[in-house]
Each structure stands twice: as C-alpha cells, then as structure tokens.
C-alpha cells in the first residue's frame, strides 16, 4: 500500500496555496519558536490546573520553578515557599496565585538588581533582562493594575508603562561597533525602576518586597 501523499504535485500545490494566499506578515527569529520564560509558562499552567482543582499538577508546576524561588530568597531574603505550601495544603487557588504574583514582582526586581549590579555595562544583557521584566508585568500583573486604576481612578498602568520606556532609554546604546554609542544612565535607571516597584507595591500591598538593597 502506498501513502497517498507521495504525489509531489499535491504537496507542492498545498504548499503554494497555504504560503501564497495566507501570507500576510513576517516576524523575527528563526523558525523554532523562542522558548517562553518558565515563570510565564508555570503561571499559566497553575491557573489552568488550579481552576480544574488538579492540585497534584499545580504542585508539579510549582516544582519546576523551585530554582526561581531560591534565587529570590537568596537576593531579597523572602521565602515564598511557605506561602505556596499553605495555599497548596488549603487548596486555595487565590492564595497560591497571590504568592505566584509576588514571585513575579520579585523576579522583576531581580532583573533590575542584576542590571544595576553590573552598572548597565552589558548592554545586550541588560536589554534582555528589562524586556523580560516588562513581559512579566504586561502578561501577569498589568491586568490587576488596570483593575485597580478603574476602581480608584488612578493611572498607575500608564505611569508604569512610561517608566519602562524611561528605563529602556536609560540603558543607552552600544551603537554600531561603537559609533553612535550612548552611555547608560545608571542613576536614572535606578529611579525609573524604583518608581515601577513603588507603584506595584501600592496596587499589591500584600507583596513582600524583601530587604532593601543598597548598590
């Protein structure tokens, strides 16, 4: 028995139809999708499995990011594990999600921490860290910030968004092989990121922010 798809013309035809007719845009990167950050993946999965009350899976999901919990504990002296364990033992999704959101907040702070510790000398690395921090905020926290804005008549989301833009500009630029390079503005970066942090703490007063770090 032969497989019907062996006829080359049918495959070429399908190829042409799908590519020529459906093509409307393009994007960067190579064909294999960029891996999603584990915090985002796990957050998504915890919501999905938590809503189905699949607590075994929620626990397994959280195990995946145990190294992140250790990281924030080492830097900011905040132990989120006990909160997560409480939420898991009580099977309280709200509690688990709140601690997860706290982890997101501390992970954002961690990105700033490394950038500031390096003095923004490593442009590409600093840019990637800031991009991830912004991604964490946009995907996982911004919805609740907007909700807070609606309830309280504030504009924290817009302000945070602007602060991210400021922080991005403060990274400077390496230019092209040094030509057109712009030096990073470390102090301004610190001020912008501190602003984001403070606003998030107003919206999420239950977040543990950990010990104050002086650079």
């Amino acid at each position: 028995m032969s497989i019907f798809l062996k006829q080359k013309y049918s495959i070429i035809f399908i190829y042409c139809v799908l590519i020529i007719i459906l093509c409307r845009g393009s994007s960067n990167g190579y064909g294999y999708k960029r891996n999603e950050d584990p915090i985002i993946t796990v957050f998504k999965s915890v919501i999905f499995n938590g809503k189905k009350s699949d607590w075994e899976r929620v626990k397994t999901d959280i195990d995946i990011i145990s190294d992140r919990l250790d990281d924030v504990k080492n830097i900011f002296a905040v132990d989120l594990r006990s909160g997560l364990n409480n939420g898991l033992s009580q099977r309280n999704l709200q509690e688990v999600i709140k601690v997860m959101a706290n982890l997101v907040f501390l992970s954002i702070k961690e990105k700033y921490y490394w950038n500031i510790s390096e003095g923004l000398r490593m442009f590409t690395r600093a840019k990637v860290r800031l991009r991830i921090a912004e991604e964490y905020y946009t995907l996982l926290l911004s919805g609740n910030v907007r909700r807070y804005d609606k309830l309280n008549g504030t504009k924290f989301h817009d302000e945070i968004f602007n602060k991210f833009t400021e922080a991005r500009n403060d990274l400077g630029s390496i230019g092209f092989l040094g030509a057109g390079a712009v030096s990073p503005r470390l102090k301004d970066f610190e001020i912008a990121t501190k602003g984001i942090e403070q606003k998030l703490l107003i919206v999420f007063p239950y977040f543990e922010s950990g010990k104050e770090i002086t650079y």
Binding site: L5, L22, G25, D63, T124
Partner: protein, 373 residues
Amino acid sequence: MINLRKILLNTFIAVLLLINASRLSQGEERGPGKTDDKFFFDIDEIKFPEPKLLRPEFHGNISLGAPFAEGLDESEKGSSKVSDQTEITLWAGVQIFKNLSFVTELEIEDGFEVYEFERCALDWNIFNDKCIFRIGKFYYPFGIERKVENAVNNKLIDRPNPSIKIIPGTYSDEGLELYGNIPFLYKTKLQYEFAATNGLSSFEGKGEQHLDDNNDNISLGGRLGLELFPDLEVGASYTTGKYDDDERLRMDFVGVDALFRKGGFEIRGEYIRSNVERPTDAGGSFDRDGYYIQTSYKLLPEINYIEHIEFVGRFDSIDPDDLVTDEGDMDRVAVGINLSPSHHFILKLQYEMENEATEDKENKGFIQMNIRW
C-alpha cells in the same frame, strides 16, 4: 399595663441591641471584606495572548562555509564537501485554526543546486500537546540529532557520521505521525513519536525518497523518550521497512540516545545500529553501526558585541558494513569554537581529525558563517 410597658421597653431595647449586634457583625465582615478587596488578585484579569490565526511566519538562515585546511579528496568525503557547507533554509509556518498548524521547510544546498522540501506537514493538536497528529513530509522520528541538524542549531559545521552515513542524511519522509508529551510523576515526561511512512528505497545514502515511493511497503517506527529531569533525557528509536522494489528485503534501524544539559553545559550521544538484508550475490546481509558523543560549553562573556562563545568537542565512529573493512570505517575527533555577536549571527570554526581503517590520518578545518532571520 406596667408589665406591658416594661415588655415593650425591653423588646425595644432588645431590638436595638440586635440591630447593633447585627451591624457590628456586618461591620466585622465588611472590614476584612473591604481589605480583602484590596488584597484580592483577580485571576481573570490575566489575559494570555491567543495564537494568531492565519498569520504566517517566515524565517530562514543562510550558511556560507569554506575549508581553511583540507586534507581529503572531496569526491570521497561527501559530508566534507565545501559546497555542502553552503546552504539556505527557508521556513514558513502558520496557525490555521486553534488546533491546526502548517509548517514547511525548503533547503537549498550543494552550492544552491539541490532544492528539497525537508518538511511540509499539517499538525493537528488533538489533545493539549499530549497527542498531535501529523500528515505530510516530516523529519523521520529517529534519534535526537535531527532536532539540531540545521546549521543554526548544529554546534559544529558538519554533522556526526552515524547521522548521515547510517541514517541517510536528513531523513525526512512522507506519511503519518502521532506524537506528544505525557507528564509523569514529579518532573518526568514521556515523549512518544510514531510514524508510518513511505520508507527508504536503498540502504545507501541515496535511499531517501522525495515525493516518490518505489514500493507499496510502509515503513513503521518511532522514538520513545523519557525526560527524567528537565536536564536529562534518554530515548530509544526503532524503524523497520522493506526497501527494494520487490518488497523482499528488509532494513531496520535501532538507536539509543541521551542528552544532558545544565547551564551552559551540554553532552549528547547516540548509538545507531542497522541490519540490512541484501541478496547473497550482492554480498549478503550485513550490519552497520556508529555512535557519537558531543560535549559543549557556552560562555556568556562580559563583553558587548559578543552574545556568547561556545566550545564544542565531538567524537564519532562508524562501521558502515561489518563484512568489509575499508575507508568507510572511521573515527573522527572534531573540535570547534562558535562566536555569536548577536542572536542572528554565528561564526563557527572547526578542526577535524579523521582516522580511517585503511588510510592515513587526515586533518582538516572549516570556517562557517550562519545568518538567521
């Protein structure tokens, strides 16, 4: 009368007390309720972006290579030809419906003279990545080297010998495939891939068929992989099918593989064995086998303009026919260094030492530039 007044008064006081008590209890409930409002994280406010339907993505890469020290006759060493290192890959993919996607990959190689569709398949995600049905042309699910064979993912310039001389090159085939990942206890995962395809038409490298089939036999096989931890994966593959026009001669492949990654360190290895039935007058049935081990370490230096530097070492060994000992039996050691100034650009340097059973040792070096978009 007095009693009635007293009763009314007491009732009135009791009602007042009850109202106060009830307000007090409501207040106690409302207090934390109000605070809870502020302390409430609304899960429904998290909106993950849905996959964009009918918005295709186009990617690709170009690899330009050249030898800087060559010690072999190119005609004898197919994998080492200069032109083999220059190729373009064009990739396109589109999410048609939520559970249906299409991927195609066109490779232009051998000095831009050979055009091949390596992939052209529809994927139907039946159950949440746990079960996906594929139809079309796809990389045959054997071993793990196929996942990194492309120039931008391959840490060295050429591919391990067993992956091109035991398995015929980039073995892609037309047919049906069922694959998925099933989570197990703790962090373990089972990966399965089963395929029914047209199969090969010869036991030699040229046996790969592109949009043709020399017989009605279907090749069956696949791979089972176990992700023991997120960093360690082991797997086993098997495939069997009749390759000749008359469907009398069977050829099968069996392989085991392992991959470990930790931080910037990676070690991977594969062993592949194949049994080939061949007419007695052509030399009789024979076995062939090969293996490779590759290690690499990726450094992230604190230098702007360099995203990473990667050091790679590989040892491979093959015996393409256990009945004869010839130049095909060889061991190779390859070392390489890759420099990536940005996500889109990699410069690779490789030096290779070959030790053939019947010839002297040969050394050669290559340089290659990969640009991806």
